[in-house]
Amino acid sequence: MYLKSLAVSEFASLAEARLEALDPGLNVVVGDNEAGKSTLLKALRAAFFQKHRGRGETVEAFLPYCGEGRPSVSIAFSHGGADYRLSKSFLTRPAAELLGPWPSPVSGDAVEEKLAELFGFVHPGRGDSKLAEHQGAFGLLWVEQGRSNGGLDIGAGRDAVTASLEGEVGTILGGERGRSLIAAAKALNDRHFTATGRTAANAPLKAIDDELTRAREDLVGRRAALAELEEKLKRLEDRRRALKGYEEAATLEKAEEALRSAEAAMRRAEDHDREWQAAESAVRQAEAVRTGAAEALKRRDDLVKAVEAARTAFERAAADHAEIDAAARLAVEAVTAAAQAQEEARKALKAAEDRHESHRRRADLSRAVAERDRLSAVVAEAGDLTERIAALAAHRDLLPIDQKSLAAVEKAERRRRDCEVRLQVAAPAVTFEPEADGAVQREDGQAVAAGVPTRVTSRSRYLLGGFGAVTIEPGGGAANLESELREAEAALAALLKGGGAASGDEARRLFAERQDVEAELKLVSARRDALVSDGLDAAKARLRAAEAAADRLNAAIGGEGSKGAAEAEAEATAGESGDDEALAESLVAALNKARRATATADERLRAASKESEAAALRRAAAESDRSHLEAQALRLRSECEGAEAAAPRTTLVDRLAEADADLEAKRGRLALKERERVGDGREAAEARQKAAERTLRQIGRTLQELRDETIGLEAEVRVSGGSGLGETVQLLEEEIADLERRRARTALEASAARLLYETLGEARRAARERWLGPIKTRVAPYLRLIHPESDIDLDEETLELKGLTRAGVAERFERLSAGAREQVAVVTRLALAQVLKQGGHPAAVILDDALVNTDEIRLERMHQVLREAAKDLQVIVLTCRERDFRDLGAPTFRL
């Protein structure tokens, strides 16, 4: 199908519009805003889909803006190889006419029926024709302004596309029955699984598993109870057997008999014990009596011996005392002799000390004299040097040119020279060159040399022979310089006079001389200072002190009387000779010898005194011993005599013999009792009795325990024995086996349900892929131009655009940019139009400002797409931007 021409009049904003000779391929209709492009598309839809007799809001909107008129549309189009002409007028005298490949034109309502048949759409029962519901594929193919970047809004066009697709790939979607089966399979699957493929909470398998868990847990508990019961039964049997064993062996009775026998043995042992103790006590008493008798006899004998010993000791002490007394007397004599020797030694020491002291004092005097003489010489030299220093200072003071005044003189000299130089430069030079005998004189008459320049530094008057006089007044400050020079010269002269010099050179010579004098002065001062560092007066004071010291020593020696002062001084002066040293040494040696002799005498006296004291002490001790022993011997003799009088020794001997005989008899009896006791020991009997008691107690306890336990076990077994525990265990085991069978079957059912659902789903997905193939095939080359490596995602049911997959990344359609959305939607519409056309459906695409969001590069590519699509499809582009489509190479129509 394609539109050949279109004429609109009095239709909304369009008073009159006419498009003639539209191309079967690509067409561009240009119109500014408000020019009525969109109205043109509205008029086209009205002509095809709106019943001409219709009223209501939509149709009322067809009226021109003035509110009056007869909205009319006339279209010529070709379809299925035949030409048609359709005319419709609305509201005012509504009319419709359709000329086609039949004998006479169709008019009125029959036109609407014919159109619906031709273009495969339905008229609404009542109300207006709606795009998505009533206009078949033209809702999809004719795109109003602003609708291009939404979805395809395919609506009723789906049936036409589906029919076309089925013509191409056959019916592969399974239709309603396929959908129902998938729903049924899903329901089966959902009985068992959640959406994420896990076992559902209310799944039959879950219920069986829960029951299995419960039964298994129950079984574990029951088995444990049964095992416990069996264990108790085993214990019961064991205890009964043990009890029977005790009874059969009469264990308790035997133990009682054993205890009785042990008790009798014990009593016998106790009797023997008592008898043995009595015999032992008697022996101990006899032993005590015997010991008393023996001790009395021994005491008597000891006393006799002590008397004899005391006497002997006294005699020995008396002899010792005599001997010690003689020794003490000898010691006293030795002390007297030592005291005399000591006195002599002390006298000799005094003499030696005196000699040595005398010699020492003379040595001191000679040292003092030497010091006095040395100081005297120093004082004399220092006096000479002091005088020389005074003379040099006086000389220096006569030379007034010092460093500072010399510098002033030299500075004045430089200034004067400077003035002279500047005057020479500033003053004019006059050269007189008189004739052969002419002469020149100064005013003062002084001749002036001819032929040589003369500097005129001040107003000068020259008398020229034969001429008269010439006065020259130099200008340029020469006069000032002249006076400055005079000033400088005066200053220099004053300085020189102050320094006592006639000239600068003399001043310099005087300064050199002064420097020489100062150097010498310094040298001499240094020598004196080295001699008397603390000054001459101090040196003189030291000299006086040395003289006094020498006098004092001399006086002291003179006091000794043995030698005169002069003699002493002479000896002292000679003290430095070697003889004196030898003398001093011999004096010291004599002194030391005397000291040693005195020390020896002291020591000997001390030793003799000590020995004498010790001898006196020994003598006192010997005296004490002698008197003590004498008293003791007397006392013992008296005691011995008293005892013998009371009981003579023979009586004591008899008593001891009697006690010995008694002890022997009692020991014999004890030995007898001992033998009896060992024969039936009490300890052994006691141990046997205790063991028998323990055994009896233990047997009693064991029997009681066995009986108690047996009674307890019997009671427990009675309680659980009739509870049907074994039956319950078996029941649970059988139940579990049954549940496991059911579980296996249910698990298989669940697996089958899932497999069926998944397999059906997978098959449907694959079918859909095939189903949408033709559309994708047609879209692919267009898409390559605008979005390379991308693929559209269509809903196979609604055929609506779901998204775009670019480089493997899926993006939802509504999230794409406005530009991408309109481009993808336009190429998909073109592809669907081609599918429709292939299926024999009328298809022409009208795009009203459908690419307003597209950038320039892509717009250019969209041109390529449009040109490509228009090869076998009419495409009408309505636009307000002519330049966007100027290069499209398509016929352009203007509104």
Partner: protein, 377 residues
Amino acid sequence: MIRLLHTADWQIGKPFGGFDEERRAGLRAARFEAVGRIAALAATRGVDAVLVAGDAFDDNTVQERDLNRVLDAMAAYEGPWILLPGNHDAATTGSVWDRLRPLALRRGVANLVIADEPAPIALAGGRLVVLPAPLRRRHEGADLTAWFDAAETPAAALRVGLAHGALENRLPQGADAGNPIAETRAASARLDYLALGDWHGFVEIAPKTVYAGTPEPDRYPANEPGHVALVELDGPGEPPRIERVAVARYAWTVRTERIDGDAGGLEAVFAAFPDPGHTLLRLVLSGSLPLRQRVELEAAIGHWRERFFHLDLRDEDLYDEPDEDDLDRIDVSGFVRSAIETLRAKAADPADPEREAARLAIRMAYVEHRRLTPSEG
């Protein structure tokens, strides 16, 4: 002449855990009813004694209430009941016998003889001596009947052995061989009859030697359970006359059917049972079926499941074999067809771990599809 009723393996207290509550209660009650019928039979036939050859109780911990119920059931016969401890109710310490003896005393039941000692029991005024071999542990390695050989009895008295265990070399392969009994015991001990228990089917297993089996079946093995033996003994050395009398209430039956392509024949199998309401049927199916047949089979089984006392279907070896007709009924076009093809490929691949699930999935798809299109179904 001495007349005896020989029974065994009552297994009172067996829980039947593999069944639902209702059936469980029915099966448990049936065991008391069987004892009741035995008592009535013994009374009617005027037997001199009833010999119970072990395992009267399923476990030594049998409930007190069950002891009372069994005494109630025994009341119809007033002659002596000789009860022998078997392996399930061995005379151990704290065994059921320790409880039953005082209970009988308390209830004034005087005709109960608990044979828990290996000692001769004289009955019928000394004309009959029963030699019991009670188990005092669950498992005995030795032959407890050995003492019968040397047991002294009056020359005129009949010698009847009473034992519980496996008669050597006589029972089929795989039978429990615990608690052995010499196969020649009847002869070596000069017995006129050896009453045995443990094997649950009725069988005259050796000369003068009989397993009476359980009077009320409790499992599927087909060894003719559900009987008691009525034995008449004319005198020492005379051969016994043995009558097998059925006393069971429920029949436990196993049917194995191979069905290939058509399950229609099963209806006749079900219909052939005379009393399905008292029949426990284990139906083992193998072979393969198209889906529509399989669905029909399921419906039939659903019906019969409600008629039998219990129908235990074992169809692990029955495979779905969807044919083209089945697949056409599912769908001829669209993705469903390709999904079914995928599942068929999995179902046909023995190495595929989801093979079983795939088979079932195809059947589910079939069932669901039929459900969604009832007009064609």
